[in-house]
Assembly symmetry: C2
Homo-oligomer: 149 residues x 2
DNA sequence: CAGCATCCATGACGATACTG
DNA sequence: CAGTATCGTCATGGATGCTG
């Protein structure tokens, strides 16, 4: 069984180190690295930003124009945490006005492959998902429909 | 430019069909199928549930015990929306008390491959990410550290 | 151009209690 | 066992205004 992580991110057993938790191999444990990745992937813009930078390096406002619906605040915030994670590089050219270019790191580009697979699945399958949703909703509207046993 | 989708999921142009939007090919458009997938993948439990059912079919409380930290409410809610999406099957055996078994659909299992790649990356790379975070935070604590140009 | 600071609404989520 | 119902919280993220 995996060792439960405290709310502050530490572990209740002295001498317990992160690598130990990693090697437990239980993806469903609260302290598993997958949870941390899911937290990052879970936010609204990280994946889109990574995919974009996977295609080409870009300046801040160019990204802002490219990704429909992203606010200045969220783009800035998400880029910063991706930079902190070592997935994105940030280069400042001190011209006037300044030029800031973002690019993906080698570690980040490793993740791109998996993300691209997900997106390809989405492009192929989302129409089918929409159909499934319609069928499900139709079933729920039927007279004798009950879910609870 | 991509055509904006209305809030009810329809499109403002008569005769416009979903497939047209799909083929626009702009992942960064607000109406792209990728956004819908990201919404699902974005929530806290969907991916873990899919991965678990990708391994084996399971009953409700077995899943609850297996996935550390998931509440009854969220497990129920997430399973229901995955079922609605056509990614998960729900079979009720009318014994006493009832037995409800969840399994992954064929469409769902197609997604598993991509998700598994992501998780493998996480297991390999999250320690490196943690190091990158530590370095980043250390840089920010340096005296002359400024971010804004 | 490339941000930061602040306010605020929404909704995701957890805890708890109850049911067939 | 397998859920539903309700309530409270807290974080996410959008809108706005300002800066070097």
């Amino acid at each position: 069984m995996a060792i439960p992580m405290m709310q502050d991110g530490t572990f209740p057993i002295p001498g317990f180190v992160y690598e130990t938790a990693c090697r437990q191999g239980d993806v469903y444990a609260a302290d598993c690295p997958t949870r941390q990745l899911l937290d990052r992937v879970g936010d609204k813009w990280s994946v889109l930003i990574l995919l974009l930078l996977g295609e080409e390096s870009m300046r801040f406002n160019a990204m802002r124009r490219r990704i429909a619906g992203v606010s200045q605040k969220m783009l800035s915030q998400t880029l910063r945490s991706l930079e902190r994670d070592g997935l994105v590089d940030r280069v400042v050219t001190p011209t006037m006005p300044v030029e800031v270019t973002y690019s993906i790191t080698s570690m980040g580009s490793e993740l791109i492959d998996a993300l691209t697979m997900m997106m390809r699945w989405a492009e192929q399958r989302m129409p089918a998902v929409a159909q499934a949703q319609a069928r499900f909703d139709a079933r729920c509207d039927e007279p004798g429909a009950v879910r609870r046993p």
